[in-house]
């Protein structure tokens, strides 16, 4: 299903699946039961990781309507060497 979504939307970035929410849990981003049918989902978050694997910027929004905007991310990414 993700493949169809990516193809239809024309996404070129890497799209990964976390069906058991393992990575979501590892990053402590689980939002239990918040899915439409009561499934466990992730709370929205964005991380910028540099080439050595260190997190340089993290955005865990307090309000799920408000997410990081592309220009914010691009500005942060510009700081990486």
């Amino acid at each position: 299903m993700s493949r169809d979504l990516c193809r239809k939307a024309g996404y070129t970035f890497t799209f990964l699946s976390d069906p058991k929410a393992e990575v979501i849990r590892r990053y402590d981003l689980l939002h239990p039961g918040a899915g439409v049918k009561g499934q466990d989902i992730a709370r929205p978050a964005e991380f910028l990781v540099d080439s050595s694997g260190v997190i340089r910027w993290a955005n865990l929004t307090e309000d799920y309507r408000v997410r990081a905007r592309p220009d914010q991310l691009i500005e942060q990414a510009g700081e990486l060497k």
Binding site: L5, Y27, A42, V49, D50, V54, A58, T61, R65, A77
Partner: protein, 134 residues
């Protein structure tokens, strides 16, 4: 009513999405008109007696405004605290997940695999965790 229906349109613009001031403005105008209408009805009861549509629509509008405010100011902020999430300066936890072609992709491979056009590894990786399920 317009305030509610225009949400999907206004949500596309960051200026109006983060704080839905246009919607609130429209709702405010609606409530003001409602108040004027009610006052007029009470001042001239003979003219307005028996007209039931007004109070019904008025009550419905008030409920819609209340629901909107509840959703926008309370519901969307109900998020877990996530104190264990990796912070700036920490190492991003390694992981391996399947991509859309069912191929395993690890964080370390994303950071080290060079781009085909420049032959250079990326300067970094952006991880975006989506809210949702499909």
């Amino acid at each position: 009513m317009v305030g509610f229906a225009s949400l999907p349109v206004l949500a596309r613009f960051p200026a109006t999405r983060d704080v839905p001031w246009v919607n609130l403005l429209l709702f405010g105008t609606g409530l003001a008109l409602l108040f004027v209408g009610l006052r007029r009805a009470f001042v001239q009861p003979k003219q307005y007696r028996g007209k039931i549509a007004g109070p019904i629509l008025g009550a419905l509008s008030t409920v819609i405004v209340a629901l909107f405010c509840f959703l926008v100011f309370y519901q969307t902020r109900q998020l877990p605290v996530s104190t264990g999430a990796p912070k700036v300066g920490e190492k991003a936890p390694e992981f391996v997940l399947s991509d859309t072609r069912n191929q395993p992709v690890s964080l370390s491979s994303l950071l080290s695999t060079p781009f085909t056009n420049t032959q250079m590894p990326p300067k970094g990786v952006v991880l975006v965790f989506y809210r949702g399920y499909w």
